[in-house]
């Protein structure tokens, strides 16, 4: 079946502009995660959704970052007034309890590479 998809795959923007990144999780997956990965670094947790609610927003770096999820499916991550330090790959993952007997296996999308000039 279809995996997690993200769009755009690449985004180049100018400092100060707003950007929206989209994630389409696997159908039926109730949990959705956003991560950020800078070049050569590990994954930095940003936010977690269970259904449409976000019980944990603790990873959002600043109030310029926000995310929403509608209909328990698509999620958008919005970065306002982008800065050069926002440049990174933004990864989305989804999961569903009890998949194949594995606890919380996360399925990742290909990521969106954001470059802020």
């Amino acid at each position: 079946g279809a995996g997690v998809s993200q769009s755009p795959s690449n985004k180049v923007t100018e400092k100060g502009k707003d950007v929206e990144l989209r994630c389409d999780p696997i159908s039926g997956h109730t949990a959705l995660y956003w991560y950020r990965q800078s070049l050569g670094q590990g994954l930095e947790f940003l936010i977690y959704f269970q259904g449409n609610s976000a019980p944990d927003k603790s990873g959002l770096p600043s109030d310029r970052f926000s995310a929403e999820r509608t209909g328990g499916s698509v999620s958008t991550l919005t970065i306002q007034r982008t800065q050069q330090e926002d440049s990174a790959v933004y990864l989305c993952a989804s999961s569903i309890p009890g998949t194949s007997g594995i606890d919380n296996e996360q399925f990742f999308g290909p990521g969106t590479r954001l470059t802020v000039l």
Binding site: Q41, L43, D103, N104, Q106
Partner: protein, 111 residues
Amino acid sequence: LAKTTQPISMDSYEGQEVNITCSHNNIATNDYITWYQQFPSQGPRFIIQGYKTKVTNEVASLFIPADRKSSTLSLPRVSLSDTAVYYCLVGSESSASKIIFGSGTRLSIRP
């Protein structure tokens, strides 16, 4: 928050067995131990998960001692295509948002 410690990098040769150890001293009773693999320009993908003792699948084995404060991912007979970053995580569905990927172990396989 469950924290893990693993080597930053490892090198090996084709055909060898590679063991990557992860420390997780404050693992909770409900936590599972999960390993992910990440190739360049791709998102991580699940390799194996265990709770205790030994788990084996078609890709790897996972060894977990009785105290569960560490675990070892074992890759048999590695090939060049196993060159990737390997992440050790601890957590559970009930603490899903607290799972931390960390920096992982960068494994390089040479011919």
